[in-house]
């Protein structure tokens, strides 16, 4: 009997071995090393030297760190809710059994199919202050309406670079539309029938049935969105390189610059560890807040 149990354990471990080892090598070890390096002065060229909390103390006094954090938080606070609200709105419209839903859904989905790098390049052309199509249209409209303003230089203007990226993010929210639409279609019809019998109008049905039933999906999207925002890299790196000034320097870009441009691996690791703590904290907070607001009844 014990022999059989032993064989079971051995086979079980054997079959899961590739992942156990792989994760050990490419997740567990890097995490541990990251935490260790965050307490070291480490430049790759020379061996790591333990400096205790030095990196953390320096980081908290580093302007670049705070700017990157601030930019990321602004993006998360403005762009994320804006994107979610827009996506829910579009999903609600598409869920009205209107004709051609599949066509609209496909159109909204197309931006998620194009490689991110391509999108970034593409939007650089759109935002180009002098030759871009956005300003071509905007300036045309302003001239037509005899307005005295001129369209901004977008990515080259420190005040307009962030709004430009937010606008671009909004344009690509079709991915979320698809997710919300699937969530809406999972809501049982019986709930709406019951609400109708109670005399609910369309608005009341949306507010008291649809949104509560959709809340787990909204919640999930919010959390993933926050985590994603802190890891945004490709699009701002390609489009602005963090500039103008440091107007679009996001958290992960700052880590990248510290690690691979300044070769301050320990410093960058400390920043990554802080990011992890922020994410854990935010997720914990969101879980607490969501109690009583998120309804898992329908799923």
């Amino acid at each position: 009997m014990t022999g059989r149990t032993w064989r079971k354990v051995r086979n079980g471990l054997l079959f899961t071995l590739p992942w156990t080892v792989g994760l050990l090598g490419f997740i567990v070890y890097p995490v541990v090393a990251s935490v260790y390096h965050s307490f070291c002065d480490y430049s790759v060229l020379r061996p790591a030297v333990w400096i205790g909390l030095g990196n953390y103390v320096d980081l908290l006094q580093d302007e670049v760190f705070w700017i990157a954090l601030w930019n990321t938080v602004v993006f998360a606070v403005v762009a994320l809710p804006l994107g979610i609200v827009t996506a829910i709105g579009l999903a609600l419209l598409l869920n009205t059994k209107v004709r051609g839903v599949v066509v609209y859904r496909t159109i909204f989905f197309i931006p998620s199919l194009v490689p991110m790098v391509t999108l970034a390049m593409l939007w650089m052309w759109i935002f180009n202050g002098r030759y871009g199509i956005l300003n071509y249209v905007l300036n045309g409209v302003m001239r037509w309406l005899h307005l005295p303003w001129e369209a901004p230089g977008w990515l080259l203007d420190p005040h307009w670079a962030k709004p430009a990226l937010i606008l671009m993010g909004l344009w690509g929210c079709g991915h979320a539309v698809v997710i919300f639409l699937a969530g809406l279609q999972d809501i049982p019809e019986t709930l709406y029938e019951a609400a109708e019998i109670d005399g609910a109008n369309r608005w009341q049905k949306t507010w008291h049935v649809t949104l509560p039933m959709l809340s787990p999906v909204i919640y999930f999207n919010l959390i993933m969105g926050i985590i994603g925002t802190f890891q945004v890299f490709a699009v701002p790196y390609i489009m602005t390189g963090g500039g103008p000034g440091r107007a679009t320097l996001f958290y992960t870009m700052a880590i990248f610059q510290f690690a691979f441009e300044d070769l301050r691996m320990g410093y960058a690791s400390a920043m990554a560890v802080i990011l992890f703590l922020i994410i854990v904290g935010l997720t914990w907070l969101a879980t607490r807040v969501s109690r009583g607001h998120v309804h898992y009844g329908g799923l």
Binding site: F15, F26, I27, H37, L122, I133, I179, L299
Partner: protein, 315 residues
């Protein structure tokens, strides 16, 4: 009853969103047919080569008398027959695409190779591991499962620097392995969960029946489990392909040698060097590199939609 035209205001609104969504793509597609000198005059309207080709085709069809005149790059004027002129203009029209194709072909090949290798590895290891975790209880199974689960909570940025150093120490910088090994070994825990939750939902009776018929472990896996899980395999495949296709930071730091660029990093390097001199060719490159995913989407829309939404529900 649904009356036609009842939702006209809804369509109007949706179109107001849909048109700007498509606009940038129309812009790129249209301008991918322009020469750079033509683009100095503007981005709108039908590209010159297309107009010229159309007019030649029209004259050839009508059988108009006289030659078509063609002005070459060297400012020479040639008198050609309509069909020859048409061929000339079509060549001109597709020139950007020919140039772009020679540049992006190696990137596409590399991407395809990496995608295939990662997908194969993840599918084989993922299904086998999830099969064991789901169907063969052994002491310590929960521990293994939660160990896998816990690795999902670490953001990629936290592991970025040490992973890079690890790859460097293993001597794998500038190789395909630098892209494939970490993805297969550690980057795809998600796949295990999608597989495991699907396998958990399968009826045990099926497995018992197959065992009574004398199926061994491998038989169960190969002849029963894999055919049953075709839809979920498609979903994992799609998530994988999208991930590899869009991954920019990792390939960008581990593979600086242009020979190993995948589409994402290759396009970036190409754009940085090429954007001023020949935007039309860049646009053509964007179009070419977007086609594979669009095709895949057209062929596997259902799996795509499930892949997109699977994270949000029940997974």
């Amino acid at each position: 009853m649904r009356r036609p035209g009842k939702h006209w205001w809804l369509h109007l609104f949706l179109l107001m969103v849909a048109v700007p969504t498509l606009m940038p793509f129309v812009f790129v597609l249209n301008n991918s047919f322009r020469t750079s000198s033509e683009m100095l005059h503007g981005y709108f309207g039908v590209p010159r080569a297309a107009r010229a080709a159309l007019s030649c085709a029209w004259r050839a069809l009508r059988g108009s008398p006289g030659p078509s005149f063609v002005i070459t790059d060297a400012k020479q004027t040639l008198a050609l027959s309509h069909t020859h002129a048409l061929r000339y203009h079509l060549r001109l029209l597709l020139r950007n695409y020919r140039d772009a194709w020679t540049s992006v072909r190696p990137y596409l090949r590399n991407t395809l190779w990496v995608v295939c290798a990662v997908a194969t590895g993840v599918l084989i290891l993922g299904t086998a591991t999830a099969f064991v975790l789901s169907r063969f209880p052994f002491p310590g199974r929960t521990v293994v499962f939660y160990y896998f689960l816990s690795t999902m909570m670490f953001p990629g940025v936290l592991t970025l620097v040490p992973s890079f150093l690890l790859i460097k120490r293993l001597g794998l910088l500038n190789s395909y392995s630098a892209l494939i090994v970490p993805m297969v070994a550690g980057g795809q825990v998600f796949a295990i969960f999608v597989f495991k939750s699907f396998f958990d939902g399968l009826s045990q009776d099926l497995f018992d029946a197959a065992k009574i018929d004398g199926a061994g472990l491998f038989s169960l896996y190969w002849h029963l489990l894999l055919p049953l899980s075709r839809p979920v395999i498609a979903v994992v495949l799609i998530i994988n392909i999208l991930g590899t296709w869009n991954n920019f930071l990792w390939p960008f730091i581990v593979n600086t040698d242009p020979r190993y660029h995948i589409v994402a990093s290759g396009l970036y390097v190409m754009s940085a060097s090429e954007s001023a001199s020949n935007p039309g060719m860049l646009f053509a490159a964007y179009v070419i590199t977007s086609i594979p995913l669009l095709l895949l989407f057209a062929c596997a829309t259902r799996a795509f939609m499930q892949g997109m939404t699977s994270g949000a529900f029940k997974a």
